[in-house]
Symmetry: C2
Amino acid sequence: MSSLSRLINPSSIALIGASPDQAKLAARPLQYLQRYGYQGRIYPVNPKHASIEGVPCVPSIADLPRDVDLALILLPAAGVADALSQCAARGVASAISIAGGFAEAGAADEQQRLTDICDSQGIRLIGPNCVGLLHPAKGVTATFSSELRNRMPRPGKVALFTQSGALGNAMLQSFNDLDIGLAYWVSTGNEADVGLLDLLEHALDDPEVEMVAMYVEGLKHGSRLLELGRRARAAGKAVIVLRAGKSQLGRAAAVSHTGKLAGAWKVWSDVARQSGVINVDSLDDLLDLALLFDRHGDPSRLRAKGLGVLTVSGGMGVLISDAAAQAGLQIPAFSEQTQATLRSVLPEQMTVANPVDTALFTDEQGYALCAEAVLNDPQIGVLLLVLTRLAHDYTALVPWLEKLSVQAHSMGKRVAVSYLSSSDPLLPEDRQRLMQAGGLALSTPERIVVALGHALQAATGDMDPTDAVPATPSRNAAEFLLNAGIPQVPEGVFNDADAAVAFADAQGYPVVLKVVSPDIAHKSEAGGVALNIPDSDALRSAWTGMVGSVTAHAPAASITGYSVQPMLRGGFELIVGCSTDPELGRVLMIGAGGIWAEVLDDVRFLALPTTEAEITTALQSLRIAPILSGARGQACLDVPAAAQSIQRLGRQFLADPWVLEVDLNPVLVRPTGQGVVALDVLVVPSEPAQ
Amino acid sequence: MSSLSRLINPSSIALIGASPDQAKLAARPLQYLQRYGYQGRIYPVNPKHASIEGVPCVPSIADLPRDVDLALILLPAAGVADALSQCAARGVASAISIAGGFAEAGAADEQQRLTDICDSQGIRLIGPNCVGLLHPAKGVTATFSSELRNRMPRPGKVALFTQSGALGNAMLQSFNDLDIGLAYWVSTGNEADVGLLDLLEHALDDPEVEMVAMYVEGLKHGSRLLELGRRARAAGKAVIVLRAGKSQLGRAAAVSHTGKLAGAWKVWSDVARQSGVINVDSLDDLLDLALLFDRHGDPSRLRAKGLGVLTVSGGMGVLISDAAAQAGLQIPAFSEQTQATLRSVLPEQMTVANPVDTALFTDEQGYALCAEAVLNDPQIGVLLLVLTRLAHDYTALVPWLEKLSVQAHSMGKRVAVSYLSSSDPLLPEDRQRLMQAGGLALSTPERIVVALGHALQAATGDMDPTDAVPATPSRNAAEFLLNAGIPQVPEGVFNDADAAVAFADAQGYPVVLKVVSPDIAHKSEAGGVALNIPDSDALRSAWTGMVGSVTAHAPAASITGYSVQPMLRGGFELIVGCSTDPELGRVLMIGAGGIWAEVLDDVRFLALPTTEAEITTALQSLRIAPILSGARGQACLDVPAAAQSIQRLGRQFLADPWVLEVDLNPVLVRPTGQGVVALDVLVVPSEPAQ
C-alpha cells in the first residue's frame, strides 16, 4: 500500500484549530464533513471548546488517539511546525497545512523545518499554503474550498492535482458545472513534502482512478516523470498536464553548447512526449479531455478509431476535416453499405463521403437512418453529429440521441454532439440527459476533434523498455570518454613538421592541419586551418604557410602545437549532448550539428535512461532526417551506429554524476557501415577545477 | 459608385417567382421584407396571382418598371438563365439566384450561361446556389435565411461574406446570439459573377463598414487579394478570413523545384500575411474578433497597446502571460504610481506585478481601486479582469463594470472581462449590460488575448508601396534572363580539353568541371563532377579522368560536352523561384537552397508585385536568416543585392505571362559587396515546346 493511502482514504480526521465561528475559514472543513456525510471519526482539536457543531473536541494533539490517519492543520504559519511535529509524535499518518506565509512569502527556512519534520518523523504532509484535499466517494472534505458551499462533485474516476489553489477551486467548480466525475482532488501548495508526482504515483496504483489531470507550475524530482509516465501507459491510465510558465521557464546556466540550446520549455515538451504525458494548452482543453474520459472512457479502447461526421453544412465538414488532419485523427472513407444507405436517404446531387452533409434534405427519420448507418460502419468508432436549431428540432432529437448513445456503448463505439454555431447548444437539461446516456457534448466540433486527438495520441506513442545495462563509473574526462566508447578521429599535436608528416603517413591522406592555441578562438581567420591536404609535400608546405600566417595574425599567442587528423568525407554533422535540467534531471540532446546547431535549433531532448529505439525515433523526427536517410541521391547514413553510440553515451552520463554537461559537436554520422566519429568533444565537470 | 451599390442598397426589389404558399421557401423573402420594414418598392413577379400578402403582383419581368435595383430570382435552376436575361433586358441592375443545380451539381454549362449573360448584358449576379443578401440598416432581406424567422441582427459595422450558405446562416444566428452589429451579409454560393473579392472591394469603399469577415473555400481572381488587402490597411479596415480546406488544398502540377515546393496552404498563408489579412482558425475565433471590433473598435487606435491583467489566481496570471507571449501581446510592467496604489490595497506578501493577483484579499472597494489604478497606467490600453463567483459577487460588480467600461472609452482605453472558469460566466442580461457600455466579455482570458493579438498583428504588419517600375516583355528564355538581370557564373561547354583550358585560363582558377548530358541525372555518382581544380595541369588530368569514368559508368549516354565554370567560395545558397498559384496568381518563392531546399522546406512566398523591403523582411524571417547576417563569425552576406535582384526577377516574371515557372537553385548570396550569382537556372514556358 502506498504511503499516501491513509492520506487519501482517511478513516479518521483530526481538525487542528477547528473553529466554532461560522464566518472563519477554519470552520468550513467540519461543516463540509458533516454536510457531505463523512463516515469516519472526526476529532476537532481545540482547548477552548468542549464540542463544535455537536462533535466533542479534543483539548490537544497529545490527547488524540494513536491511530489518526489525517490531521488538517488550520493554524496560522507560526504554529504549523510544532503542530506537525506533535502530530507525528502522536502517530498521525499524514497532515495537510493550509496557512500561507512560508516559502511563497520568503520564509524558506520555516518551510524547510516542515520538510525536516516529515523526513525525520515519517509523517506525510500536503501544503503548506494550499486549499486541501477532497475525496467525494468517501465524503472526505479536508479543505476550505469555497465551491463546497455550493456542491460536492460527483464521485468518478478522474484524479485532479493542482499547484494553484485558486485555479484548483475553479476546476472543482467546472467539474460541478460540467458534471465530470471526480476521484479525488488535491491542492498541493508549496509541496514541502508531498509533490504532484507522489500523488501521480499513488493514483497509478489506485483502481479508483482511470485518468489523472494536473496543473503544473514546476515539478519536484521531475526526473521521475519519465518512469511514472511509462508506468501510467502500462497501466492504461491517461495523464493530462496543463503546464503554466511557457513564457517564463528559465534556461539553466550552461557551459556547453548543449546547455545553451536547452530552452527549458523545449526540454519539458520533448520529455513530456517521451513520457506519454498529454500536454494541453488551456484549462478548457483539460476539462474537455476530463469530460471525454468521464463520458466515453479511454478512446483507445474503442472498437474502431475512425471519426464519422454528420453535418448540415459542407463548409463545416471541410473545417472538421482540417481540424482532424491537424489532430492526427482519421476520417475514414465509408463502406459501400454505409454509402448505399446514405444514398437511399439523400438526394442524388449530394455526395455521401465522410464527413457527410445532410443539409436540409432529411426529416427526423431520414436523419436517424443516416446517423445509424455511419455508427454501424466498421471503420467508425465515434459518430460526431453537428446540430443546429436552424435545421433540427432539438426537443424531438434528444430522446433519440439518448438511445443512440446507449446503443453506441453496447457496440464499443461512442456518440459525440456539437453545434454549427457554438451559441446554439442543447439546453442544459437535454445536455445532461445525453451525457448520462454516455454521450459527449462540447460547444464546437473542433473541441471534440482536439480532445479525441489528444487522447489517442497519448495511447499510440512509443513504449520502450528501459535500459537495464549498468555502466562503470569514471574518474575523469578521459575515462568518461573511454567508458562511453565515443569513437574519435585519431589526432596528433606536433611542434615539428617531420613528426607531423610521419603521423600523417601512418594515418593516410588526405589530412587536416589546425593550429592549437588557447589564445586563438577563430582558427580560420588566423589562417590556422588547412583542409584536404593530399600528400606529405603538401603537408610540409601547409605547415610552413600556417606557421607564418598564424605568427603574423597573432604574434603574442601561445601555440600549443599543430594538430593533424585524417580528413573524413561524406556524412552529416550532428550535435549530441548531455545536460542536467534543473527540473527534469539528466537529459540527452540530439540535433543538427556544426553551424546548423545555432542556425536551425533542430534538436530533440530525451530524458535518461533512454533506448536505441527512442533515439532512432528522435533522429527520425528531426527536420534534417531526410539527409540521414540519403536525400538527393546521397548515401544513406549510419543511423543504427549513431543510435547505439548515443545510447551508450547517455548511459555513461547517468553513471557519472560528477559530469555536469557533455558536448559532442560535431559528431559525424558516416555512410552506412562506417559508423560515427566525434570531431570535437567537451566534458564539463560539476567542479570547474576537476 | 461601385457597381455593387444598387445590389447592396436596393431602392426596389423584384421577387421573381414569389409564392403565396407560406410553407415554401419562396414565400419567405416577402414575409421578411414586410416584417423587418423594408422601405423601398417591392414587386412580386407572378402571373398566377394579383397580389401576395397585400402587395400587388407584376405578371412578368417584362412588366417591371425600368429602374429596378435588385431582382431576387426564386425559380428552380431550369428557369434562372431566362429570367436573368429578361431582367437584364428590362434594365434591372442586379440579381440574386437562390436555386441549386448548377456547377455544384455537375451542370457547369448551365452556370457558364449565367456568367455569359452577366458579361454580355452588364447585370450583376449573386449566386446561384446561395442563401442571399441581408442588409439590416436598410431592412433588405433578399434571402430565405431561417434565422430571420427568429430575429434580424442589429445593424452595425461588420460586413460578413460567406461561401457556405449553412455556415453563413449559423453565423447570422451567432451574430444575433452574441449581439454583434451587422453591416451586411452575403452568401455568395457558386459565384457565377460576383465573388468574395468583389464584395470586399465594395466594402472597403463603404463608410458603413469598418471590418470585413469572410468564410473562404476558394478565391476567384485571387491575385487581387494583395492589392485589396493593402487598400484595406490604408483605409484602416480589418479583413478577417476563416479559410477552409487546409487539409485538401491541392498542389499545382509543377515542373520546377519552386512549383513542387509550393504547398498551396503555405502559399495562401504567406500571401494572406503579406496582404495584411487576419487568418483565423475557427468560427469562434472569427466571431470573437467580430465581437471585439463591434464593442472595442479597432484596437490599434487605442491610446496604449499594453494589456493590464487583474486576476484572482496567480496560476491564471501565468497562463495569461504564456498566451500573451504566444500572441505577441505586451503585458508591460506597471508604473511606480500604479504599483504604489496596488501596494496600498494588497497585503505585503502579494506581488504587485502585471498580471496582478488580488486573490481574496480585497473587498469590492479595494478591487475597484486596483482595477482603476491599472486602467490609469499610461502603458495600459486594455484592462482584462478575470472574474470568479468564488471570489466576486457578480450582481454587485455589474453596475461598476458598466461605469468602468464607459470611463475606459473616454480615456481611449477598453475593458474586457472573462472568467477563472469558462463555466462561470456573467448572466446573459449582465453580459448584455457590460457589452452595451462598450465592454467585451469572452468565456476565457485566452480568447481575449488571441483576439487582441490577431487584431493588433494585422495593424502592425508592413505596408509597402507597390512597385511601379515597368518591365520590358521578353521573347524567350535567354531574353527573360537578360531582362531580369540575373547574374550568372560564366560557363563554357566544351568537347575538347584545349578549349576548356583556354576558357579556364581566361576566367581564372579554381574551376569546376561537370559533365553535361541529358542522360545522366546524378552527375556525382557517374564521376562527372570535379570541384576546386587549381590549375591547367589539374584541369587536363581531371578531364581525362572524367571522360574515362563517365564512359565506364554510362557507356550509352549521349554527352553534350563538359562544362567549365569558375568555382566560387563563401556565401550561402538560396533557392529563388517564380510560379503561378492556381488561386493567387503569380508568386515569388525565396528560401534555403541547394540540398536544404528539400530538407528544410524553409521558404516564404510573396505575391507579385512585391518590393525590396518585403523581400528583405521575407529573407530575415527564414530560419537560415542568421547565416545571411553572418552566424558563427562568418562573413555577413549581401542581402541588399539579393533583395534587389529578386525584386527585379519578380517584376520581369509579371511582365512575361508566357513564363510559367522560374527556378534559380542555387543562387549564391556572396559576402557583402560581392552580390549574388545564380549557379543553376531553369525557365519553364507555358507551352512545353517553346
